[in-house]
Symmetry: C2
Subunit: 252 residues, 2 copies
DNA sequence: AGATTGTATATTGGATCCGATGTTTCTATG
DNA sequence: CATAGAAACATCGGATCCAATATACAATCT
């Protein structure tokens, strides 16, 4: 499996990670979180690692991304790094300027509001399509993910658990294109959500609403599950916006 | 303006285009269709040109895309070409395999159905949001695009006119993220739509439905405009699917 | 002193070269 | 003559080198 990749890139997985070469603030990025076996090229690894680091908030908004530094980190040349950065820009996660470099993209409050509105529309529809196709197995998985909220104390994992819960239900809709869009939308705002969830106590409400959605799914009530999902997302969006308005000014 | 770009890439615009270097079947691709001034790099130009060629059907489904051939076409090296191909793959327009190359991605009938269903959901909502914000100016523009259907005999232009009509209304919603998604969705299925429109006489119905949507917009009836848009897209999807089922088998 | 210009450094985008691997063709042998 | 193995060819991903440009800072002029 690993042999499929250039050795220089795969090496950090098994050997010691060259932390000394990493610029300040970068040590939090862990390559172990990237599934090497699914990567076809070094650019895939760099892309996935950077994407994770951005959506998890390890790379702060506005942080400079220097090609040669990243190349050094991944023990590769700048070519795969550029390809990864180009893809990240395509997805709106970073912005680049010629001869000046790339920075992690920030979102204005208006943009965040739009994305939540959009997510509410899509995800409500996805769950409506999913409910009639739910099996006992997928419901069990959703139940487990729902309970994982209660047992997980590490707030850094909440974002991941949140995704797992929703996706476990969404998968049943068998709409890969919808899910791809949902994933991209969540990527954009995930780090803001994580910050808000850990700093405020928005988790208790999320737990309650998740239980409600799950119950509607178990009852087979597609319309109710859709409405609850819609309210859940819009409510989370409103909470996030008020949180951000306190943190930063209205114009940002 | 042009000076912002490496000379070798910008050259074909003003000087003679090296058609001799282009492999067979490629002469239909015209660089003039790409707005050079908005491109920050050669990769942007290659990306836009290939994207246009794919969505307009100039590059057939399954067609091989060789890096060095494309690089020859654009009078550049393979590096920007690879970046462009990587971005196209991210958007699902092509698929690549190591050491084997890239091919224009094809969609199964199920995937096409899903995308139309998705578009109906999003675009209906976009027009619902747009109607209250429509001004006389944007309505005039939409009216002009709607009439352009009647006067345009060149069927190759219908796809472009269709986009212009819908987008002129959608813009008023002031939802850039929605529009970005709409654009990406349309990119995926546009070439199939174009083929179907020119080979069947689906244009008359499209004309009629466009007029209905426009009238609802003029009347300020957001719900009706949304419903008509939804029906318009779903109807076009059904027509396309039956067309494709006749052309190819159900499994493809 | 402040503004302006010139130079050194940093950083990006692109070209060329190289190694790895898939594909095709040709030859040798049963 | 058919088939298996080898060799030539094609193609891709990555590394290294080079050109263009932005920024920072020092030197110079008013």
């Amino acid at each position: 499996m690993l042999g499929m990749l250039p050795r220089a890139v795969a090496a950090p997985i098994t050997e010691a990670w060259p932390f000394a070469a990493i610029p300040q603030g970068w040590t939090a990025m862990k390559l172990e979180t990237v599934d090497i076996r699914q990567a076809a090229s070094a650019a895939d690894i760099v892309y996935e690692a950077l994407r994770k680091a951005i959506i998890e908030g390890d790379l702060a908004e506005g942080e400079n991304l220097r090609q040669d530094q990243i190349a050094l980190m991944f023990n590769t040349s700048r070519i795969p790094v550029r390809e990864a950065l180009s893809r990240l820009e395509q997805n709106g996660l970073i912005t680049t300027q010629r001869y000046k470099g790339a920075v992690v993209a920030g979102l204005s409050i208006e943009e965040i509001e739009e994305i939540f509105e959009f997510r509410a529309l899509i995800e409500a529809e996805v769950i409506r399509l999913a409910v009639p196709k739910l099996t006992g197995k997928t419901l069990d998985a959703a139940r487990r993910h729902c309970q994982a909220f209660d047992s997980e104390a590490n707030s850094a994992m909440w974002g991941e658990i949140n995704r797992n819960f929703h996706y476990s239900l969404y998968e049943a809709a068998r709409r890969p294109y919808y899910l791809q869009i949902v994933r991209a939308s969540l990527d954009r705002i995930d780090r803001y959500l994580r910050a808000q969830l850990t700093l405020t106590n928005g988790m208790s409400r999320a737990r309650r609403e998740h239980k409600g959605i799950l119950d509607a799914c178990i009852a087979g009530d597609a319309d109710k599950a859709a409405e609850l999902t819609r309210d859940h997302i819009l409510g989370a969006g409103r909470a996030l916006v008020t949180f951000l308005e306190e943190t930063r000014g209205r114009n940002d």
